[in-house]
Symmetry: C2
């Protein structure tokens, strides 16, 4: 049987998972591929820590050149993450004629198009299934299964940490800080959770999906991002009363004004499939003109699920090698020369329903003042809840659901409302999506 | 731009959908493929009926040879369904060196392996994404995305008609016959719904998925099949009390005793993702050793969703043609020479929890007699409900949930119980799956 040799750079959690998959399911993979994938060399700066897997002597090295300059290695897996030295290593591998598999969403979101160009020039493959949705085969679906469709909208839960935190807050009524601390203890959140909870990781992934959906270059800088750190249990409770759940959603749509790409806490109707995705699970919901809605659900992170996606890429590339057919697939769903420079809309240009929670002095005329300003800005109110009387500070919570309104109009109105002396602090705004 | 010519046999609902997709999204498809797909010829015995799409003069013919013998046609789509003449047409196309795309699950479930052999010999592709799950890309996922995994179980809702009927019965408490009549009026069920409601269509699809999952030849005859026609609203109501929903499930597992492949009404916990799939939608839930659980959801039938899958296959094959790499993918996920003749287990060999509804004479000692027989057969009872007193006929409904039991033991016990003169008619049995 033919063998294809693989080199791995980065022996952390996912790297260990890849080594385990290639060891434990090697026979199964060979039965499907008709050839053998052989892990030849692993480069990592730390070769001391025990990863719980026994490797043949000499396989592990601290010298990345033993992978990059190794003429026996056909494919290189990059799993160190971050921009540098990952970018340099991938570029060197591609230029050396080696196919590359990566899970590095941050790098692709910023420098993907440049790296794809290097790969195209070198006549090799650069695959990245594990970069979005972990083990969910969403990249393949976008590149190969939806080719007959105009994709009208993508809505995704793309970060397991955030979804775990929001699910716990919803189920237990706990505060954000408490749930985050618990998630860190359980290993569902990093010691420094910034990238996850501020929505940046989700935005990296959305930047990749949006480019694939609409046939444009990757445009991370145009993705609007808001994280989940400000979500209060009281807003989750009000959402439930309205029949909604709060999720950190990645949304991309193409409309007349260009592309809308945004990541923010979102209220979605409780009967929507995405409202049912709980815990660390991820899901991507796609609206397409011919297929209609479809959903892809699974584990968006973790050692073995992510390794499953990395190895699927290895098998795909190996099939290309055996069939001698590279660039069978365009890098980003559309052929690169056919990319369009569609503009991405600023967040001000979107429109949706809004959930608003005002903290107001408990005195006559407050509601009329607020609704007057909203009305002048063309924002119409769908429902109002005012619970209990005032708290110790003499304020009450006034909660509103608006009808469809423009973000620009809303911000204009809230600037005025928040400047009123009857309003305490900043009004809480959560976008409600009813037509995902 | 290069053009690739397509011939279509069968201009019914799906065929019309394919013509519409290739007309409406032609530019989009070319942007992704880097070549143009051109529909050259459509063969159908009925060229009179108006399908609501205007075709160029001469495109439509009643003579299938104008497709099969046409040297300009590179790929043939078969959408007539059934065994013959579909099998003859596909075989002729393959032997003529044309790639074939089909949505014909009945044919593949019975003669798939034979047709794949013909394709392999002719050096051409035979793709079938639309045959299972309609527009859901489940064939691609099984063939290309789960290659790193041992698939341990597949559970699918694979027939929209059945799922629509069961959803309506659940939501409205209506009787099977009434909902079926309504579904026929709405076009969700055929005039002759036998293939759907008796589970045969689902079994065809499961036969294909099981072969892909476990690397065996297709074995339709070993799939156990029960339909939904006997489901009573009262059982749906009792299921709800237990925290379950009833779905027509296709289940395939590989265990020590061989492969279990079965289609039957199944009670599943109401919090399981599959319990949330309502209406005409389909979904496939897969357990795999590395990826863990994943779910694929979408429209399992209908003109445009199914056409979306057909055209995705055309694009895939066109990419193989352009890259000159056929048989990049094995026909059924595993390389054919690596198929194993794993035996399929008879239904007697399975074990699960059972829902039992006895119709018993309302007299002392009945419960003790039933539970005695169950106990002697090693079947332990998890809970019992006995509602109200007797009906006009002097009988009462006794409903039980068992712990995990073997089907063989259950049948042995039920044979004895149903023969008791205190028992009226046949006991209702519905399998409960708690570990999907």
């Amino acid at each position: 049987m033919k063998t294809i040799n693989v080199g791995l750079i980065g022996f952390g959690t996912i790297g260990t998972g890849v080594a385990r998959v290639l060891r434990d399911n090697s026979q199964l993979i060979s039965r499907r591929l008709g050839a053998e994938l052989v892990l030849k060399k692993i480069a990592d700066l730390d070769i001391v820590t025990d990863r719980g897997i026994t490797l043949p002597a000499g396989m592990l090295t601290t010298d990345v050149n033993e992978v990059l300059d190794n003429p026996d290695i056909d494919m290189v897996i990059e799993l160190i993450g971050g921009y540098e030295p990952a970018k340099t290593f991938i570029t060197r591998a591609l230029k050396a004629g080696k196919h590359v598999v990566t899970a590095n969403k941050a790098l692709l979101a910023k420098h993907g198009d440049e790296l794809f160009q290097v790969a195209a020039k070198a006549g090799v493959d650069l695959y990245y299934e594990a970069s979005v949705g972990g083990g969910i085969p969403i990249i393949k679906v976008m590149r190969e299964s939806l080719t007959a469709n105009r994709i009208t909208a993508i809505s995704g839960i793309l970060n397991g940490t955030c979804n775990y935190i929001l699910t716990q807050m919803t189920d237990k009524g706990s505060a954000y800080d408490d749930v985050l601390a618990e998630a860190q203890k359980l290993g569902y959140a990093e010691a420094d959770p910034t990238f996850d909870v501020e929505g940046i990781d989700t935005a990296h992934k959305l930047a990749i999906l949006a480019a694939m959906a609409f046939g444009t270059p990757i445009n991370f800088d145009s993705v609007y991002v808001e994280g989940i750190a400000d979500i209060q249990p009281v807003d989750i409770e009000f959402a439930r009363e309205f029949g909604y759940k709060i999720k950190l959603l990645a949304i991309a749509k193409e409309g007349d004004g260009g592309i809308e790409a945004r990541v923010h806490p979102t209220m979605i109707p409780e009967h929507h499939m995405l409202a049912k995705i709980d815990g660390v699970f991820n899901a991507v919901y796609i609206n397409a003109d011919m297929l209609g809605p479809s959903l892809y659900y699974g584990q968006g992170a973790g050692m073995l699920p992510t390794a499953s996606a990395v190895v699927a890429d290895l098998v795909d590339i190996a099939r290309n090698m055996l069939g001698d057919s590279h660039h069978r697939l365009p890098f980003l769903a559309y052929q690169t020369p056919n990319h369009q420079q569609t503009s991405y809309q600023p967040i001000d240009a979107i429109s949706c329903n809004y959930y608003l929670r005002f903290t107001a002095r408990d005195q006559p005329g407050v509601l009329s003042k607020i609704s007057g300003i909203l009305g002048d800005a063309n924002i119409s109110i769908a429902s109002v809840i005012q619970k209990g009387r005032n708290d110790a500070g003499g304020t009450v919570a006034i909660v509103m659901q608006t009808h469809r309104a423009r973000e620009r109009d809303l911000r204009y109105a809230l600037n005025q409302i928040d400047a009123l002396d009857i309003i305490d602090g900043q009004t809480v705004v959560i976008r409600m999506e009813t037509d995902l």
